[in-house]
């Protein structure tokens, strides 16, 4: 039975990752040994279309007895998505899935890059449901990072920071319904350097509710000539925010019923608002 290969991941604050593999002592490697990252095929698999690769090979070299090391520098762009990690020891055997070892992600916890950064790369290692090592990757420029969020009767107040763009006059935030045929709801933005803040009142969302659970995605429009930026929470060590960054929903009176409205993070860690009808009413 082949021995399980485990990789310890160490993150640096710039977005680089170092992989340290534990291998049985005496494991030989050849010049072609590599840590292989493969983009998981899926609905959001747009990486290849953007001109980036869906397989990345990082040279794997000796790093002391029983240890091999590979480095993913922050300058290597990884398409947004989920990447599975393999080890190719260069021995002619097919690359093997890596298991997660001990991660040191402390430098990601309160990551705060320079606001002027052009394109922001985020990679967070995690264990898949089957217990294998994978990376969650985002590549965004500009990027609107969500910070504290307040759910109050007057609406949803979002604070955050804009990276890679400067808000100008006319900057605003938009809620865009995922249901087709609805105009976005725009609200003004308060700006202090790269930091922004806006309050999205609930009334308008409530007025447009028709049935079931209706999600609205939140965007930032920094300036007229700049494309809108999705608001997301990426700058920490938590690969899936949905369960951890959880917010209450408020009851909001609509025409003839009470609706529940509250913010949440999508599976891609983008910020959204859900408007849902009374329980059991679809």
């Amino acid at each position: 039975m082949p021995v399980d290969l485990k990789a310890d991941c160490i993150a640096d604050s710039a977005g680089g990752l170092t992989f340290d593999l534990n291998v049985p002592q005496g494991t030989g490697t050849t010049w072609s040994a590599a840590l292989v990252l493969r983009l998981r095929a899926g609905a959001d698999d747009t990486g290849a279309a953007e001109g980036t690769d869906d397989e990345v090979r990082l040279p794997l070299g000796p790093n002391g007895p029983g240890r091999l090391r590979a480095v993913l520098p922050s300058t290597v762009a990884l398409a947004e998505g989920r990447w599975h990690a393999f080890a190719d020891l260069g021995d002619g055997v097919d690359p093997r899935r890596l298991l997660p070892g001990v991660n040191d992600l402390r430098s990601l916890v309160d990551r705060r890059p320079l606001a002027g950064i052009g394109r922001l790369g985020v990679r967070i290692p995690y264990a898949t449901k089957l217990g294998n090592l994978a990376l969650r990757s985002w590549l965004r420029g500009p990027h609107a990072e969500a910070g504290d969020i307040l759910v109050a009767p007057e609406g949803l107040t979002v604070t955050g920071r804009l990276y890679g763009a400067s808000p100008t006059a006319g900057a605003h935030a938009e809620a865009r319904a995922r249901r087709a045929g609805l105009d976005p709801v725009a609200v003004p933005l308060t700006v202090d350097g790269p930091d922004f803040r806006f309050t999205l009142p609930f009334e308008e969302l409530a007025a447009r509710w028709r049935h079931g659970s209706e999600p609205w995605d939140l965007w930032l429009c920094p300036a007229a000539e700049v494309p809108p930026v999705r608001i997301a929470r990426l700058l920490d060590d938590v690969p899936e925010k949905k369960q951890v960054f959880s917010y209450p929903a408020l009851s909001v009176p609509a025409a003839d019923r009470e609706l529940r409205i509250g913010p949440y993070y999508t599976l891609d860690n983008d910020l959204a608002v859900r408007v849902s009808g009374p329980a059991g009413e679809e």
């Binding site: 997660p100 001990v102 916890v109 309160d110 264990a127």
Partner: protein, 423 residues
Amino acid sequence: MHISFLMHHAYGVGETVRATFGLADALAARHDVEIVSVLRHRDAPALDLGPRVALRHLVDLREHAPSGDRRDPAHARPARVFPAAEPRFGQYSELTDRRIAEHLRRTEADVVVGTRPGLTVHVARQTRRGPLRVGQEPHCLAVRGRELRLALRGAYPRLDALVTATEADARAHLRRLRLPGVRVAAVPRAVPAPRLAPADGTGRWVVAAGRLTRAKRYDVLVRAFAGVVAARPDWRLRIYGGGPEKPALRALIDELGLYNHVFLMGPAGPLESEWAKGSLAVDPAGREPAGAALAEAMRCGLPVVATDCPYGPGELVEDGVTGRLVPAGQPVALAAALLELIDDDAARARLGAAALAGSARFDPVAVAGRHAALFEELVARRRGNGLRGSLHHARGALIGGAYAVKYATRHTARAAVRGVRTV
């Protein structure tokens, strides 16, 4: 020496497995060490076991196991030796009784160690004449029910030694069980050195970790943190772990408006990775003793704020030196202690450094050294006076016998209620 640990399920995860693996590996540097797992549900152990330690099982419950133990009718019949009042009773059977008895009758070890009360009962009653019979208590007697204590009273007098994790628990065993001639010693649980650099203490995160159960009193911690946030909104709290109290804690966090400051992180992988991100560890437990988690936080260089409940934290944390001890169940006192260390960077750094240095005593090498010294002393004494050992076991059997009769009566009554056959 040849040392043999008897474990419930060495192929699973949990504090006992981790601590026993650490201890066994450290002992294996100088001794022959084996781990005998009563049950086996998986092909490979979930946690890493050092290559020097031998591992085997007694009952194979894997789907594809050639032995067919899963379908053995004896495994469907309830255990008689393993005490009915033990929390794991449901997983034991006539088959486990028989296999454990065979193992203990034939063992060639010099020292046999039971790693939970039910298994220590087996070790005390069924180990062949010769080897040292040792019990190791993963929890404390205070959390054991009356029924189980009665079962232990019937068997434990035949032990040579009982090893508890704390002095308080050693005293409780001496007070509540009759154990003449049994060496009762407190040796802290082994906590391996973290596999990453200690926390640098510069972040503004308080970290807690444990099962989200009512007894752990995370509700007290969340309420206390409302007080912390009022004074220091730049500090936040992460609580790692899952459990039945999660929805109630979620609701409390929302009710107190703490959803930007208190986060329920869910179960974590290796906890050392999470402690290293923090600057302060906290344990609000009310009655339950501190687990190895707090010792692990200290090994990562975090000062600990813990409640001064009867078992555990008081021996782990030295108030004002490696952390702070506060009365249990009092959010105001807990908040004050947290703020004291949050507001004083120098004190936090000093206490963190002391916690890091002081917790070296939990290192498996240190803990293994204390176990080995205890075993060696008892083995030497046994050799010096061969008669003494068998006299002790005979006396233990007599003392235990009286309790055993009392227990057996209850056991039968209890089993009858459960509709279990005991004859």
